[in-house]
Amino acid sequence: MSDETLSFDEALAKYDPVLGFEVHVELNTRTKMFDAAPNAFGDVPNTNTTPVSLGLPGVLPMVNRTAVESAIKLGLALGCEIAPVSEFSRKNYFYPDTPKNFQTSQYDKPIAENGSLDVELEDGTVFTVDIERAHMEEDAGKLSHMGGAGRIQGASYSLVDYNRAGVPLIEIVTRPIRGAGERAPELARAYVAAIREIVKNLGISDARMERGNVRCDANVSLMPKGADTLGTRTETKNVNSMRSVERAVRYEICRHAAVLDSGAPIVQETRHWHEDTRETTSGRPKSDADDYRYFPEPDLVPVVTDAEWIERLRAELPEPPAERRRRLKAEWGYSEEEFRDVVNAGVMDQIEETIATGASAAVARKWWMGEISRLAKQREVEPGELGVTPATVVELNQLIEKGEINDKIARQVLEHVLDDEGTPAEVVEKRGLAVVSDEGALSTAVDEALAAMPDVAEKIRGGKVQAAGAVVGQVMKATRGQADAGRVRELILQKLGVEG
């Protein structure tokens, strides 16, 4: 049975939404957070394990230094303070996805705190999101409930794969985000996109949402317009695509509004998002009194970060994505809209490289947003994955500028390059695609065309200059498109004694 919802507009007319996010990022370290088992996706279940990640009697954890460095880098990228001393704690609960029946996580002494992130919506509006903390922890194993509806209730048995148990995670927690209003769902999506972009840019995560590398828990609450106290929140768990995040937040706003309108209280609980029905359903009730009996992990010593280490990592940080976009847009001189299209098409890196290889900004954009994007769509891949190199684009453009080929031929050449026939110059050479610039041959071809189309020739002579296009087409056909169409038109008019 579906819950009552208000329309989004009605909800926004009465209430201000407040958002909060907990985003879990799986790191792409070679080994797990606390042991030497490989951190790899998609392998045979329970093969990427050691006695440590299986929690066998007697084992002890060791902190993965690369994971700590990743956490520091992410903390710095989010403008956080890096704690000189941070600590791991045990979060105790009985559930078979954690082999030890506790998760080793950071609790009251996280590695990074008090940051902020500027999140840009598609139209360029910027929201500043305050980051409360980013902390390190280990992932749990993966449970598959067999029989029933794929849930533990009603399942006849459950399988557990500990390959994921112990994979390093960083959890990024925001402070409550107010004032997004009607743009709250959009902001949710943009926030997750921004986190994903940052971790990819830092090279610390593969950031593939379909593999669960980035997972978002979205908190939503509503305040009556004009009120100042936060409402009761719900936490929608594991929303695993950016589109779903946007939809889930929108749904929860509409659902909360209907509940509040009915005079009922919001139940503080976790909710599950269903992409098929585009609804959330109630999970387990959650209260602040959930007792995980946290205490400092006695098998680990505190993580101590000295200033020298932090500064070295800071120096290694790549340029932040938002800053880079601002810089490139200015350097390339694209309009707001042109640049946004480039970003949305995902070809910013390619254009940058093409320009670096020797093309102008305009030419690079023309190719990547034009023919390459068209071919990519046709072949159902991302433009960046088509296999076109910046060198190919530059070479094609040089051939055009030298007059050896025209735009139309260039597009054919590109397809042949993609079919592995060689470089553009080699394709032109092999296939004899160079423009026919021999005036004699061209003159003969024009004569033949005019002779074949006497009525058209008569019309042109009579002043219907636009009819010349038909003759041009005939000549182009005869020369297999290798003639310079402009020159052909000039010759036709010249031979018929008409002014162009």
Partner: protein, 531 residues
């Protein structure tokens, strides 16, 4: 050499005879295995192992074939002129809460019955590297929780001085095995005195090394911040030799120290030499001297030990550790809190035994509950419940948090005391071995037995227990404990060896020379039972 002569060799003496080719490791190992067979006793109830045996019951598993194979390998290498570790071929026993490949590890709990570890503990790997034949796995209180070894799921171990008495705990199996000549050396684990108190009540030597100086990887965790693996032996020098095998940094243990190992045996030799204690300042812990419930004979032998120390040239002073009296309370909160978390993994899902609910639905929660209800003994449950409570939201500061503050105060007390003296000394345990069954229903009385050993674990400092003689009232062993500053384990060996030498000179030989024959005790007892 006869079997009796072979098993009575100290590890150092056995190593010398092996090196000289006077005896083979196979002979030596076989002698120990035969002695184990003749002293372990018969099962009292073949269907119920928890009833124990008519003898010592110090071993839960005897690894006869593996031990002999290792011994033969060492003999062959020696014959081929290979370089060997000084202790190569000297047999050793391993407490059964330390994991071993190829032989069971149960922690004396039904929970792990039938489980085989796929890996070796770091200390076991070191024994194998030194090529010391592993005789088997020794009995303990379940998951090392207890002071009597009565809490073993596989029957109590008996004290070789009197089979009706406890051998201490939790390492009663290792201590009894060493004292009764079943093994020259054994590994133990010490969380609140589990090596030292059994050593004291069996007349043997036991060492709690500086926390972090011996790897804990592969020791089944009881209370991680207090657990420490250490040696059991009959002499201070033997303990030092085994400690040198076990020590050193382990990249698998985050709490492992990077200090160099030793020299322990050399310090023991110096301490035992003429004038070895000259100038050493020994502090008597005032609060432990007249502790409540201290047995008269323990007190008497302890004071005689102080005289022996003075006679050997040590300066004996009295020092105060005012916060010591809060140790027991703090220990029971920290220990039980860590226990409640460390023992959570025993739920029947992944390994060990599984118990299904007697009736009703078979859900994961109910299987976990039934497994834990059946798999843990009352002592384990008592500690899990106490620890779960102490860590609960709203109680954390009051219990766990406060206990950690007390721990800091105890550490400071030790630091202050070591500003005045080189080592501290006290009785190891306030009483001699008590009769089996006497305190098993009175946990508080049992806990009080550890009053002198527990502060050492809270502070992470090294400590040793050495024989102090037999209490006049009952003829049972008394232990003397030395404590040294963190990372000064070598100083410990020097002091303890000095006292050992002085007392043995008075006694005319080692205390264990006076141990009654275990075989005679068993037959007397069996005959008694038959009448």
């Amino acid at each position: 050499m006869s079997r009796n002569e072979l098993v009575q060799l100290s590890a150092a003496a056995a190593a010398a005879k092996l090196a000289a080719g006077e005896v083979s490791s196979e002979e030596l190992t076989r002698a120990h295995l035969e002695h184990i067979a003749s002293t372990e006793g018969e099962a009292l109830d073949a269907a119920d192992r928890s009833r124990g045996t008519s003898g010592l019951n110090s071993f839960l598993h005897v690894a006869q074939e593996e031990a002999l194979a290792t011994a033969r390998g060492v003999d062959a290498s020696r014959a081929a002129g290979d370089d060997l570790h000084p202790l190569a071929g000297v047999p050793v026993a391993v407490k059964d809460n330390i994991v071993t490949r190829g032989m069971p590890t149960t922690a004396a709990s039904r929970m792990l019955e039938g489980w085989l570890s796929p890996y070796d503990a770091t200390v076991v790997a070191k024994l194998r590297e030194a090529r010391m034949p592993i005789l088997g796995k020794t009995n303990l209180d379940e998951f090392a929780m207890g002071s009597s070894t009565e809490h073993s799921a596989f029957g109590a171990t008996r004290n070789p001085w009197d089979l009706d008495r406890i051998p201490g705990g939790s390492g009663g199996g290792s201590a009894a095995a060493v004292a009764a000549f079943q093994a020259p050396l054994a590994l133990g684990s010490d969380t609140g005195g589990s090596i030292r108190q059994p050593a004291a009540v069996t007349g043997s030597v036991g060492v709690h090394p500086t926390y972090g100086s011996v790897s804990r990887y592969g020791a089944i965790a009881m209370a991680s911040s207090l657990d420490q693996i250490g040696p059991h032996a009959r002499t201070v020098r033997d303990a030092a030799l085994l400690h040198e095998v076990l020590g050193g940094h382990d990249p698998r243990d985050a709490t492992s120290l990077k200090d160099p190992v030793g020299p322990y045996a050399a310090q023991a030799a110096e301490g035992a030499a003429e004038g070895g204690l000259r100038g050493m300042r020994v502090g008597v812990v005032k609060e432990l001297l007249d502790a409540e419930g201290i047995q008269a004979g323990v007190s008497q032998r302890f004071r005689e030990s102080l005289e022996a120390l003075r006679a050997a040239g040590a300066e004996v002073l009295e020092v105060s550790l005012p916060n010591l009296r809060y140790s027991l309370g703090a220990y029971y909160l920290i220990m039980s809190s860590e226990v409640s978390s460390n023992l959570a993994k025993y739920d029947g899902v992944r390994f060990g035994s599984r118990t299904l609910p007697e009736d009703g639905p078979v859900t994961i929660e109910r299987v976990m509950a039934a497994t834990r209800a059946a798999g843990f003994n009352p002592e384990a449950k008592r500690r899990i419940i106490l620890g779960t409570y102490a860590l609960s939201a709203g109680y954390y500061d009051q219990y766990y948090g406060a206990a950690q503050k007390v721990r800091t105060l105890v550490m400071r007390d030790f630091e202050q005391a070591f500003g005045q003296v080189d080592v501290l000394v006290s009785p190891t345990s306030p009483t001699t071995a008590f009769p089996v069954g006497e305190k098993v229903e009175d946990p508080l009385a049992m806990y009080l037995n550890d009053i002198a050993t527990i502060p050492v674990n809270l502070a992470g400092v090294p400590a040793i227990s050495v024989p102090g003689g037999l209490a006049p009232e009952n003829g049972l062993p008394v232990g003397v404990q030395f404590v040294a500053p963190v990372r000064e384990d070598a100083r410990l060996y020097r002091a303890a060896a000095g006292l050992e030498a002085a007392l043995e000179a008075e006694w005319g030989g080692p205390l264990l020379d006076r141990l009654p024959s275990t075989e005679s005790l068993i037959s007397a007892r069996t005959e008694g039972a038959a009448k």
